[in-house]
Subunit: 345 residues, 2 copies
């Protein structure tokens, strides 16, 4: 039998402020054999998501933080190579959120979802037809309770979640205003994705332009960024507004630079701010995924991917993404054939 | 017929930061005759509440802000002197939230609630058995969804709302931790009101003491204060915590000194923060008022009033209250017989 070599990215040290590629280490070791109920997957795409930065913080996060030397957590899609779960045959395409930054994952079959051939590319199972898409869907419709004719403002509007939020809002018959960093992203959000407007948060008259774009004020604030961007939108809230707190990527690497100053707006507008994590609402996924795939097939829902080649480049790509360096859903394409055949045993 | 002279407190100028008694003016003019459907009330007690400071801000608040020269808004209890509303006879004791800072109020009968003789003092209709009590009841049980065995932390714990919040939590079988300013208030909150603990936010080890008092962390944060006090409680949130945003009195006079820094805690704990105003939930009042009065009669619910004598002293009392100078529900007792009989016609 040949022994195959796995490649993993692990956390070598806690980042100090901004993530540095030197915070990670690349480790090689043999691919394990699946135990009873387990499945061995060769990963084809790795998803990079902002929540991973929270896991690299020694403070309490959604779950326990990573320890030094731990495998970086992450979702992948791949193909089943060996299976001891009778419901998942070899050759199946699967997606899982507990796969990690590695070429091969050996996980319980219950941690996997088989991807039907539903006419959308495999990689979308990590984006528009995966966790980010369902996050947008659940956040906007359940947490945000968006109604026809209302106005939603979403930050990180060209990103994996934000791009879906605005398009779903338009499908629902609402007004969608994006916030993004730089003219190219803003143009894409309006021209390719069909948002009503998109404001560059780096522009000197950001707050005035946001006010111009929200003459009826803001009913749903879908927040991915935090900090001064979040504060600016709070200043535009309508009565009984809903703030969907999905992420605070501007604060993950440095903490809040100035603190949130417009708490008063939450009070006087009788607003509701609600944070959520979509993995706590698994019953919601099948219906949302079906709807998202249908809109992708019909062309109503567009997406953009930002692909980095090779697992060894994931740390630098992740560091860049946290600073807004990506343009669309950030993915790492894993090596086509990284298997190292060795004559051992 | 004799003409009676009314005395009113009006806003003379917008406060700059802290409220100054010179921001108000005392005005005399004849008491009006009630028109069709109106009722003339001689006020006995005026309630002073922090929300009034928001109304004195030229920025948008719950409702339109005051204009210069406007009567200060406020709730009173009093006795009906003349009535052209057939449902409210002269001699009735009434409470209303739209009465204003004045000795006589002429308002539509629909703006009044008749106070039954239910065995609690009349003044409580402005406190524990009135708007502040219902605010505590609705906020804790509906917005906060407090359950038996959970931990609630309430700021301004010796105040009109906070004192009721903690006692209701104990009645519900939850753990009640107060936050108040100074040792005397903290002692009162624990010894007289029966909270499990009360932390002085002025003490140098405030945050450490708060952590000690919340070993199971915080399920419901009932926020009346904002600023650094609010931030400290956010750092103790449990998963799926509810933050009841009732007031931000520390920010009304100066804006946020440092901004809210622990927004991340809302995110990672999947918390819900909800602001509310109890006047938007009028259906809730009768049941809550009945329950509150019953607990007051049985001695399970205690209260403390902080009384200032005379309408002319209301501005200074209000300014002091906003800086934490009151100890218990702030009331102004209006002059026993301020009527000036004049021989004019």
């Amino acid at each position: 039998m040949t022994s195959r070599i796995n490649l993993q990215v692990r956390m070598r040290r806690f980042p100090q402020g901004r993530v540095d590629p030197a915070d990670f280490e690349l480790v090689e070791f043999p691919v394990p054999e699946p135990g009873e109920g387990e499945v061995l997957v060769r990963n084809e795409w790795l998803s990079l998501d902002p929540y991973m930065r929270l896991r690299m913080d020694p403070r309490r996060s959604y779950v326990e933080g990573l320890r030094l030397g731990d495998l970086m957590p992450g979702g992948t899609v791949g193909v089943v190579v060996a299976s001891r779960d009778p419901t998942i045959p070899p050759g199946a395409r699967v997606v899982g959120t507990r796969m990690g930054w590695q070429l091969w994952s050996c996980v319980p079959g219950s941690a996997l979802r088989t991807i039907a051939d539903n006419g959308v590319p495999l990689s979308t199972a990590l984006g528009v037809c995966g966790m980010p898409g369902v996050t947008a869907h659940y956040g906007l419709f359940v947490v945000g309770r968006l109604r026809r004719g209302e106005t939603v403002v979403v930050s990180a509007a060209s990103g994996a979640v934000g791009s879906v939020v605005g398009q779903l809002a338009r499908i629902r018959g609402a007004r969608a205003i994006g916030i993004a960093g730089g003219a190219a992203k803003c143009r894409y959000v309006v021209e390719a994705l069909g948002f009503d407007d998109c404001i560059d948060h780096r522009s000197p008259d950001f707050e005035a332009r946001l006010a111009d774009a929200t003459p009826q004020r803001v009913d749903v604030q879908f927040e991915n960024v935090g900090g001064t961007v979040m504060d600016a939108v709070l200043a535009r809230l309508n009565e009984h507004a809903r703030i969907v707190l999905c992420g605070l990527v501007s604060e993950y690497e440095q903490g809040p630079a100035s603190g949130l100053r417009n708490t008063r707006e939450l009070l006087v507008n009788r607003a509701t701010l609600q944070a959520f994590i979509v993995s706590e609402h698994l019953d919601y996924w099948p219906g949302a995924l079906e709807e998202l795939a249908q809109w992708v097939r019909s062309g109503e829902l567009r997406y953009r991917e930002d692909v980095t080649e090779g697992l060894e480049n994931a740390p630098a790509a992740f560091a860049s993404m946290l600073q807004g360096g990506n343009f669309g859903k950030k993915l790492v394409r894993l090596d086509d054939d990284p298997v190292i055949e060795q004559g051992v045993q």
